[in-house]
């Protein structure tokens, strides 16, 4: 049994690696399609054709795409991300702080969203079809249906414009006290928490309801188990796999969410860095940022899949 599980999990990991390779090639191709000759752009309009040709050779731009791809991949694997076209800084240095900032944002959101979503999702499932459940379900549908920038603009309108509790921008270098820190993180975290929790609540609720409908929970109820015991003792342990799966999947929503949230609040994270790199056509920077996003997404989805395999024997066939 255990060996079979191990084989399944390692097969899943292997297919994640293959997917990552295909994804990295796709990203590379997509950025190759960006119009304009990089050497020409770097040297400007006044450059002589010889200078452009020289730079192309120096940057290996005249080699076939597949060699460039392999070179880039090799660099990635050895931690050499190349240099930014825009300011010739090493990309690793550009990304370092930004990535840390984004991870802080993600960590803060996760710390708030997971307990909140689990509580609301489980209580909604227990009180199914009650007014409470209907309100929660209605709200989550509304939040899922609207774009992230709408959540962000609403948060700004409520907390910064009408209540005047918080600043509308998050400039992380102006922090002096813990209070400042809280004020800066509050709006982006609130926005992301709304988006992530809505998904998580829906999936948690569905998972718990599914277990509550199983014969063994019905049996426990017939034997006179209290509602509390029925949920906490019989249903929850079996719903745990799907719930953790739901958490991992919902967190992947963060990756799309931060792109909008960091832009709207000018938060100095990696998504803002990438959006800026797109506007300056900074190829190596876009590629590296895109790879970081895809790796993050793949890790979360793979974890979700593995948890599902481990927790549900029926998926092991």
């Amino acid at each position: 049994m255990n060996r079979q599980l191990l084989a399944l999990v390692s097969w899943r990991l292997a297919s994640a690696v293959v997917t990552l390779l295909i994804v990295s090639f796709t990203i590379f191709l997509a950025t190759m399609m960006l119009p304009g000759d990089v050497a020409q752009i770097l040297l400007g309009q006044a450059a002589t054709p010889e200078a452009v040709a020289g730079l192309r050779k120096a940057m290996h731009l005249d080699e076939p795409a597949i060699f460039q791809f392999l070179k880039w991949l090799g660099g990635l694997a050895s931690g050499d991300l190349g240099r930014s076209y825009a300011n010739n800084m090493p990309i690793a240095a550009l990304i370092g702080d930004r990535l840390a900032n984004s991870l802080k944002l993600a960590a803060a959101t996760t710390a708030i969203a997971v307990p909140l979503a689990l509580t609301l999702g489980i209580t909604a499932a227990i009180n199914r079809n009650s007014l409470y459940d209907r309100i929660i379900s209605g709200l989550t549908i509304a939040v899922i249906s609207v774009p992230e920038f709408l959540l962000a603009t609403l948060a700004v309108l409520v907390f910064a414009v009408y209540l005047r509790w918080l600043p509308a921008l998050s400039l992380a270098n102006e922090t002096k006290t813990f209070g400042d820190l809280l004020r800066i993180y509050a709006l982006p975290v609130i926005t992301l928490t709304f988006g992530v929790s809505a998904q998580m609540i829906r999936m948690t609720r569905a998972a718990v309801i599914e277990t509550l409908n199983t014969p063994y929970v019905e049996m426990a109820m017939l034997k006179g188990a209290s509602r509390r015991r029925k949920v906490l003792w019989h249903a929850l342990p079996n719903a745990l796999g799907p719930i953790v799966n739901a958490i991992a999947l919902s967190l992947s929503y963060l990756l799309g969410g931060v792109i909008i949230v960091e832009t709207i609040f000018s938060y100095p994270g990696i998504a803002k860095l990438m959006v800026d790199a797109v506007s300056t056509r900074d190829l190596p920077l876009i590629q590296s940022c895109a790879m970081i996003f895809c790796v993050g997404y793949l890790v979360l989805v793979t974890i979700a899949d593995i948890i599902a395999i481990v927790s549900n024997p029926r998926l092991r066939t």
């Binding site: 997917t19 997509a30 609207v146 774009p147 920038f149 414009v161 909008i260 895109a290 895809c294």
Partner: protein, 281 residues
């Protein structure tokens, strides 16, 4: 999204319930606005009609004016054309490709199925916003590029959904009989599989429409979607973001427009009459 079976006890019928009817009404209203926008707009779309920018709601300007002093109502009505139009074409393309390929993979099986499924899995594991960002930045933003990008991003999801459904139908006795009769791929797909998966595919169509509206608005909001002087609702929010800090109506109304459309589609899917939703399921 799971569909609740709250009304499981009720008799199956084609009748919409109240919420379904209301959301259908909102969707149809936006569709009509998208078609007749130039006739409905009270002012010429791009014309500066007021010297006060970010004007509040008034009898002359029902949604205030934007950052240049243009009438917001006219711009929101016209924006419906871009948001609804582009999304509708994109979702139709995505679902057509996804469902056609999905059914084909399910019926043919073998290496075609394996190769297609692996490819779609790889495509699906690129976050959609990132994919849109890179491709649209690369090819430049024009409406055909937007439509194709959105369609490609959402094809894999539709493919997986349709393939999963079609694999089940494909194992049914009547399909095996049809195959034994010597029917070809075209007949099997058209006459045996498709009629039996229309309900769920329709619901999936709606869901994907919402995703596409959201992604399109997001891209436009980042400045990579519909380009000025034209503007969809996402671009309208971006243009007028400067008014956010004092709560200008110019930034609120386009957001509301998006919300009414997407929430209505989601509610409609959840409240589809059982006869339509369960068609063949």
């Amino acid at each position: 999204m799971t569909i609740d079976t709250v009304s499981a006890g009720r008799r199956a019928s084609y009748r919409f319930n109240k919420i379904g009817l209301m959301s259908l009404g909102v969707i149809l209203a936006w569709a009509l606005v998208a078609i007749f926008a130039p006739l409905l707009a009270p002012y010429p779309i791009g014309k500066i009609v007021n010297f006060e920018f970010f004007a509040p709601v008034s009898a002359r300007f029902w949604m205030g004016t934007d950052y240049l002093g243009r009438d917001m109502l006219s711009r929101v009505l016209m924006g419906a054309r871009y948001t609804v139009g582009i999304s509708l074409v994109a979702v139709a393309l995505a679902c057509f490709m996804g469902v056609a390929l999905g059914m084909m993979a399910a019926v043919l099986g073998g290496w075609i199925d394996t190769v297609l499924s692996r490819l779609m899995d790889a495509l699906i594991s690129i976050p959609s916003k990132l994919f849109g960002l890179v491709v649209v930045a690369g090819l430049g933003s024009s409406i055909p590029v937007l439509i194709l990008t959105l369609a490609v991003i959402y094809t894999p999801g539709s493919y997986r959904f349709a393939r999963a459904l079609a694999v089940n139908i494909n194992a049914m006795d009547y399909v095996i009989v049809a195959r034994a009769r010597g029917e070809g791929l075209g007949y099997l797909v058209r006459s045996e599989i498709l009629p039996n998966i229309t309900g769920p595919v329709l619901a999936d169509f709606g869901l994907r429409f919402v995703f596409i509206v959201l992604l399109l608005s997001g891209l436009s909001f980042l400045g990579l979607g519909v380009q000025p002087p034209f503007a969809d609702w996402g671009a309208l929010v971006r243009e007028n973001l400067g008014g956010l800090s004092f709560g200008a109506p110019a930034v609120i109304f386009p957001s509301l427009a998006i919300a009414t459309l997407t929430i209505s589609v989601n509610l409609l899917i959840d409240n589809l009459p059982r006869k339509i939703r369960d068609q063949g399921a």
